[in-house]
Symmetry: D3
Subunit: 212 residues, 6 copies
């Protein structure tokens, strides 16, 4: 009853694992994901600003920080269920909103309720800040899935996630920050290498030869 409940709920986000049981090498929590998305959005916004766009930073940070907060109430729902029927998805979004509103009204002092109802609304929309959030969310997802593929996780789901992330980012390809990402970041990511085991032997022999 009060902001203490809100502060306490933040540590629940440290315990919500993304795709539980699927990540074998690096697990990701909703808290850490939210942090990374906000940092990525910060960079993307910086690129947009550099290219002459006006970024509403207060709005961008609010969107990025809070974009997954309602998962506190609903937990991890497998995407296929969420989208199994348009009807279910619609109802689901409605329930999520109702629970968020109920929480704000129960725990926040009156004078801050309006502000937080606004902050916890779905952030992805057609505004510049909404588009940056959509891209930042997928950039982090792309890194998460790439991390597993690179280390050899054979779970096909990561291939699908990677593909979906790239596709969604490409929908925003007219944005300067996406152009930057495609030109300067993605190529470096794809150039990341496995350490070929065979090299080890050769390198060792060279080191030994050198010294003799």
């Amino acid at each position: 009853m009060g902001i203490h409940q809100y502060f306490k709920s933040l540590s629940d986000m440290e315990k919500l694992y993304r795709c539980p049981g699927k990540f074998k090498y690096d697990e990701h929590t909703v808290a850490a994901h939210s942090f990374k998305v906000t940092k990525i959005a910060q960079f993307l916004g910086t690129v947009e600003e550099h290219h002459g766009k006006t970024v509403n930073w207060k709005v961008l940070y609010e969107k990025a920080l809070n974009h997954d907060y309602p998962e506190i109430f609903t937990g991890d729902i497998k995407t296929p269920v969420k989208y199994a029927s348009a009807e279910l998805n619609q109802l689901f979004i409605q329930v999520e909103e109702e629970m968020t509103q109920k929480f704000v009204k129960a725990e926040f002092p009156k004078e801050y309720q309006e502000i937080y109802l606004e902050r916890f609304k779905e952030g992805k929309n057609d505004s510049l800040e909404g588009c940056i959030l959509s891209v930042a969310d997928k950039v982090d997802l792309l890194y998460e899935s790439f991390g597993e593929i690179q280390k050899g996780n054979p779970e096909p789901i990561f291939f699908e996630i990677y593909q979906e992330a790239v596709s969604t980012i490409l929908k925003f390809k007219h944005m300067d920050c996406v152009k930057f990402f495609l030109e300067h970041v993605l190529p470096d990511l794809l150039n990341e290498k496995f350490i070929p085991h065979s090299e080890l032997n050769e390198m060792t022999q060279n080191l030994i030869a050198d010294i003799q």
Copy 2:
């Protein structure tokens, strides 16, 4: 495509954690829970049989083993969401059933589809076996929550779960197996003790004194 997908899905049940992030001392997977519920149902059925009831064992085992299998498709959905609206819950059950049916039709050979559609149906009903399943499911939940409370987990959710488990079991108090549980099992559970830290000191002194 085929029974391989079904067998593979069993190990997904080893990775579905119950109440993820809440259990601090002993985590429980849906696979392990299903095993324990089946073992408990076996004992409860044995008590019923001893008191003259006729247990359809094949049915009882099928119900217990499979009662959480559809969580493969839907993951961990927080109970409050599930029950947030009667409408959502209804739709949710419907989607779960559709996904299960789709899976059986996609992966099982024709000759076994009928059998598995039957096995994956909701098992809790008014039959003796359905009631035993309801009780066994709550007995395991009661043990899971007691384990946390006994070790000092202050999360109020475990108190609520414990309470709900006891209440549900009491709804079946006319059953012989529930009578047995209330008379012979629950008292022993409640008599489990903390090791009082102070005793350690005393015991150590006694041991030292004895030997001198």
Copy 3:
């Protein structure tokens, strides 16, 4: 002192890890393994029944559910020790049986002792249900070891385990359920693929090309 001890022992099975320290990607507990073996036995029994055999389902489920329960008393003993000498193995089996009997007599009410002594006996024998258990046990072992090999675990022990599992299953190749497994399940398992890292690059380029 009583069935509470028995119910409590079930959660000990959630904490007994199979081959501790060897599995790097997915760990398996004795509880989860018992669950999976029972589910696999259920399917194998269904195939046998379809081919005209009479399956005693009550017996089959009892054998599968309880086949590793005595590990509660003996923990994880490395196979080489167990079989280091025929004499030790013989003694070991004897001790395991004695401890199980002692437990049943100490904790179970008189009227259920006979039933549980029977249930905790070694389940693998020449009966149809005993053979199904032998196969189901190895099918799960095969999946466990394959999971590690596929993800790149270089520990030779998993190759040995895989080989031993296949060999044991082949001893029952006259059974209809084994024929089904060899024809319809094993080939799908072996067709599981690694995600070739190189594909990622190509797929990404294609996605980018498509959209331009």
Copy 4:
């Protein structure tokens, strides 16, 4: 070599554990801590604004998000070492700054270097935003240590951390957001209870009595 290195470094923050080996119940990463501090700072800023202060939100978010980023370079250094000698501490801060500058110059495009050098500077200063960061950082630390104490962790370090966090917050007691915290949040935190084990027994008996 580019922003890819910067984005990759974000997931390193998911692997930096705070006080490694000390937290027994809930572990905290630098990424999750940064997220929580930013969310807390958001609330504290909202309170300040409500009381007539002008908050530079862009600056506040930048300070909060980035305040522990340089730990990427220096890892977890035990506080006693850091402060063992004023000289060492001074040198240490200097090295941290040099490594951050080197990183920005090596990985960021020229046009963004100035901006990021600014963002990665020490954020705690006498500005309103700097003070909010100082408070937010300690509020999260207070929650982290309280979580351990409440669950029974006897490690004296958490008592010390809790004490230090409260003391530091009290240094800012003239701020409206700290007044709010002391009046409305801290009392609720301190009212959090252990679940008294004895209550369980009583509650169970009541439930049983009620139903008869």
Copy 5:
């Protein structure tokens, strides 16, 4: 095939957990236990030497370092099984010795076999070094069990282990190092306190009062 197998086996000791599934707060591996026992033996030997005894340090270190190495071959065998019958125990010791000998002969160069056969022998005997090992082994066990009890683990096994550790140490009460332990170490251990939750509230109020 060679010393590489021996070096590799050392990392197997990092994966052998003591009492797997029982420790809830701090898990202990056989490698870490061996390290701690050797460090404790070093201190106990230092006390003995100070009181005029002649310690054969080379022997003491060899005994302490290697005292659990044969667990590589036999894994974790529950104590009750080991001692279920004198006959089984005898056979068990014999098998352990045979496996150790077989390993040494298979992997060690001829010139070092004699030395390692000696080093891997049971180290606990009536010599001063053998007695120090017996005490050091139990001192570490005592710390391990105390750590769980202090943090609130209600598992009775830790009470039994603690008791057994104290009792065994007391059998050597004539030794100077045991006198030192009983007088100077054990009392400090028993004076370790829980942080009383109630104190938190009081302390906080005091801090607040002080500053006003």
Copy 6:
């Protein structure tokens, strides 16, 4: 206050992880590392003795056992920081020494202080025992990094660590124990293989063919 603090500090070494967050397959604690280094030093010393050198075993064991003990005070400091400036490194070593001395003087009885101040000194020097420690430390590091590379960890840091370990060992190539290592151990390590996935298919087919 007393040796109890010293004994307690040993279990802190079980919680200090080496390169936290980097090892994906096998994590290593400072306690386990110290154990393995001591065991490796034991073997290397045995080789030296066999070739006519006089090993001071007491000194060698003391050096190996205690070589990382001061990390208790300083935790995990990233190597780049440690060596970022000669000045910082110098100061850092000084602080480490001061903290160790302070600890010995605070916790050890007077009569043992001299001995432990000596034991906790930096052990790597030009003596035979100092050189053996340098080699043993790197041999374990080499095994740790090889373990990750072999299992497919693409983190370049392990390649660098491996390389650095080999290079350092080669600096001592005139020692008999290093000659032994290069001739008899390293080649076996490099011959360790991945289990080629393709073999599985073939082997399975062969097994099936054989039996028909």
